[in-house]
């Protein structure tokens, strides 16, 4: 059996195979039936099926050879709006020859585009609307400018239910001959929080530990994926050693390539497990929320998080007095 990432190998290839997001899927089926669709905006958290839905829609509309009239572009990778514009133009301007009524261009991570780039994109969308439909995928629809939103049918993807995640996991485990315990599969579902990609990757990584996937092996994976450095960094900050805490933060961000958002998330979950007065916990949560919000707005991860660490240090100090 060829080795692959399971999240990719078991990605549905037609709308019928998508088990969750039923409402979205039924709306997309209408597009297939009528062979017509508007520009779309797929918004939702990671691992909820945005890209999959786009791929399946194209497949169902155009059949197996849909790749001829389908293009996927990632806004985070394409350097600058000029690349997007030229690539889009090249793709969109030539009418289809295979009899397909239009082409589909998926622009992933569209919320990473600057406002200027989005305005330029809007003009491009308008100019080629005859020959090309756009599907923009993003985590936060609020970061897409209003003129684009108003030209798109907006689809909101929600985290998968535990039952849906479980069904997928059991199916994959069976096909890949993965042995698991019940508490193991429950643990995967719990850590995934409705993110199917995370669930499948966790399962695959846990399976590589070469014994039945159980609660322990899942936590080993989660522990490695979420290194203990965050806790060590917090301890340094709480003990007043700000400079070393910042150094740790720096290493995580630059050398290990962790994302600021993931670090904030873990700081948040650590705070509520600490033995400090409840009142302080909520003060801290407020500061963490503010930092997280600023990151979503595109601020510098290290600068924001080190300001947070300095803040945590004084709240903790007051709590100990």
């Amino acid at each position: 059996m060829a080795v692959a990432m399971w999240a990719e190998k078991y990605r549905p290839s037609t709308l019928n195979e998508i088990k969750n997001q039923t409402e979205i899927v039924s709306r997309l089926r209408k597009f297939v039936e009528t062979k017509a669709m508007p520009h779309c905006l797929f918004a939702g958290p990671p691992g909820t099926g945005k890209t999959t839905a786009a791929l399946c829609l194209a497949h169902d509309l155009f059949g197996e050879r849909y790749m001829d009239v389908f293009m996927e572009l990632n806004a985070s990778d394409a350097r600058g709006i000029d690349v997007v514009r030229t690539t889009v133009k090249e793709f969109a301007r030539i009418a289809t020859i295979s009899g397909a009524p239009f082409k589909i261009l998926v622009l992933d991570e569209a919320d990473n585009m600057t406002d200027d780039a989005q305005h330029a994109l809007r003009r491009t969308m308008e100019r080629y609307t005859e020959t090309c439909r756009f599907i923009l995928c993003c985590n936060y629809s609020g970061k897409i400018i209003e003129p684009i939103q108003s030209r798109c049918a907006v689809f909101r993807f929600t985290p998968l239910s535990e039952d849906d995640v479980e069904e997928y996991l059991r199916l994959i485990a069976k096909k890949e001959n993965v042995k698991f315990t019940e508490d193991g599969i429950k643990a995967v579902i719990e850590v995934a929080e409705g993110d199917l990609r995370k669930a499948i990757n966790t399962l695959q990584a846990a399976a590589s530990l070469k014994k039945a996937v159980n609660q322990d092996s899942v936590y080993v994976v989660v522990g490695r994926a979420r290194p203990k450095d965050v806790r060590e960094m917090l301890e340094l900050a709480f003990n007043g050693d700000f400079l070393r805490a910042r150094e740790k933060l720096r290493l995580m961000l630059i050398e290990y390539g962790l994302s600021g958002t993931d670090i904030v998330k873990q700081i948040h979950s650590e705070i509520f497990r600490m033995t400090i007065p409840e009142k302080n916990k909520i003060t801290l949560a407020e500061a963490i929320g503010e930092a997280d919000y600023r990151l979503v707005e595109g601020a510098d991860e290290e600068v924001q998080l080190s300001a947070l660490l300095a803040r945590l240090a004084i709240v903790a100090e007051r709590a100990n007095q």
Partner: protein
């Protein structure tokens, strides 16, 4: 007289070459084998990153074992005719009492196909006719322009120098030159130059010229030598000013752009303001400055720049309420250093991310976030799957080493990978 260290400390014998022992041995054995009979492949292609010792090992070999080097390198015109003329000497009958010869074609991936017309054909021709060993060097053996050469050459790979052997070597050179230099300072240079020995030696020489002692701080301040005093003065003002206008003036006076100035303040603020409350206030002002800075850059709204200045100078200055005055030297922005030190590993990470992204429909940044941690676990624990995934994603040796973390796992994965692809 100024003699470059790259010349002064150029190895005269093969044993003086740092690293790549396997490659050097292969080279020596192959050249020696000509004494018995002409080997199947009449040319060697030494390939690997710059500064790993490809050319100098040929030179050292020639020197140690008495070969004349017939050399053509990138700075010579390398038209087909020129190559044929020089290579003609290689096809002549070996003279009974003459010195033995090696033909060295340096940096062949630097050949400009348009200007150096017919060069590749001439090289292939030379290799066919030669009576002497022909050695070629290239940075990238996979360069499509030299494809036809690959088939007629035996390939020998030179790898990037590992930090430890480079360090030992450089310590010896420093000792020979009578210079005292921190180990940490040398490590910094090795990392920054990505193990390219030629650049390392040049940098080390530039750094130590005119002094006998070099510390880590000297190295980090290097690019700022002339401006060190100005900048220290400016920062001191920011960390001690009692009124806003005075602190804000620094932006106009200091001769660096304000984003760089921000980095300096951000690095030093928590070092200067040691009281936790002062420090937290200052860091919060810097965080706010950063938010305005993003708006200026992202949305091109220039009017917000004045708030960037307010926050990062006056905001920080007036945060000082409880910290007692004391002298703390200014430090070079450590995160800029870390960025340059980690350039190599970040480069590999970005490449791995891009390879994952192509397969998994995500950007390279998201790939790092959503897949890398799990791949690491697989690469550390399940070599079979790791090898299979390496093929699936098209990972090369460097990528595999990055994911597997240690050398023995990397070897094991590679061995399985070879079996899969053969």
């Amino acid at each position: 007289m100024h003699v470059p260290w790259t010349t002064k400390h150029r190895p005269k014998r093969l044993s003086e070459i740092v690293g790549n022992q396997d490659a050097v041995n292969t080279l020596l054995n192959w050249v020696k084998s000509w004494d018995k009979k002409v080997p199947g492949k009449k040319a060697l292609l030494l390939h690997g990153p710059p500064g790993t010792g490809k050319t100098i090992s040929v030179e050292a070999l020639g020197n140690e074992y008495g070969y004349d080097l017939i050399e053509i390198n990138a700075s010579d015109s390398r038209t087909g005719d020129a190559i044929r003329r020089i290579a003609g000497m290689a096809t002549g009958q070996a003279m009974l009492f003459g010195k033995k010869r090696i033909v060295l074609l340096d940096e062949i991936d630097g050949i400009n196909l348009r200007e150096d017309i017919g060069a590749i054909d001439a090289i292939v021709e030379t290799i066919e006719k030669t009576n002497y060993p022909v050695i070629l060097t290239a940075n990238n053996a996979r360069d499509p322009r030299i494809r036809s050469l690959r088939d007629v050459c035996k390939l020998v790979e030179y790898k990037r120098l590992d930090a430890r052997s480079a360090l030992e070597y450089l310590k010896r050179i420093a000792a020979k030159e009578g210079i005292q230099i921190d180990e940490k300072a040398i490590e910094f240079i090795i990392e920054r130059d990505e193990g390219d020995m030629r650049s390392i030696l040049n940098d080390l020489q530039a750094l130590t010229s005119g002094r006998k002692k070099v510390t880590y701080d000297d190295v980090t301040w290097l690019a700022w030598k002339d401006r060190k005093e100005d900048l220290e003065e400016a920062l001191k003002t920011i960390f001690s000013a009692k009124n806003c206008l005075y602190a804000k003036k620094v932006v106009d006076i200091v001769d660096i752009d304000y984003e760089m100035l921000f980095e300096w303040i951000y690095e030093n603020a928590p070092r200067q303001l040691t009281d936790p409350v002062d420090r937290s206030n200052a860091m919060e002002y810097l965080a706010k400055a950063d938010i305005y800075l993003r708006i200026v850059k992202r949305e091109n709204i220039w009017k917000f720049r004045k708030y960037v200045f307010d926050m990062m100078t006056a905001g920080v200055a007036l945060s000082r309420e409880r910290t007692e005055p004391s002298y703390v030297p200014m430090r070079f922005p450590e995160r800029i250093l870390l960025m340059s030190r980690t350039r190599m590993v970040r480069g590999i990470r970005a490449r791995v991310g891009a390879k994952i992204g192509r397969r998994c429909h995500v950007s390279s940044i998201s790939a790092v976030r959503y897949y890398l941690p799990y791949l690491r676990i697989i690469f550390e624990n399940d070599y079979e799957t790791a090898a299979g995934l390496s093929r699936y994603f098209g990972f090369d040796e460097e990528d595999i080493a990055y994911l597997a973390g240690d050398e023995s796992s990397t070897r094991k994965i590679e061995r399985i990978y070879m079996r899969l692809t053969s």
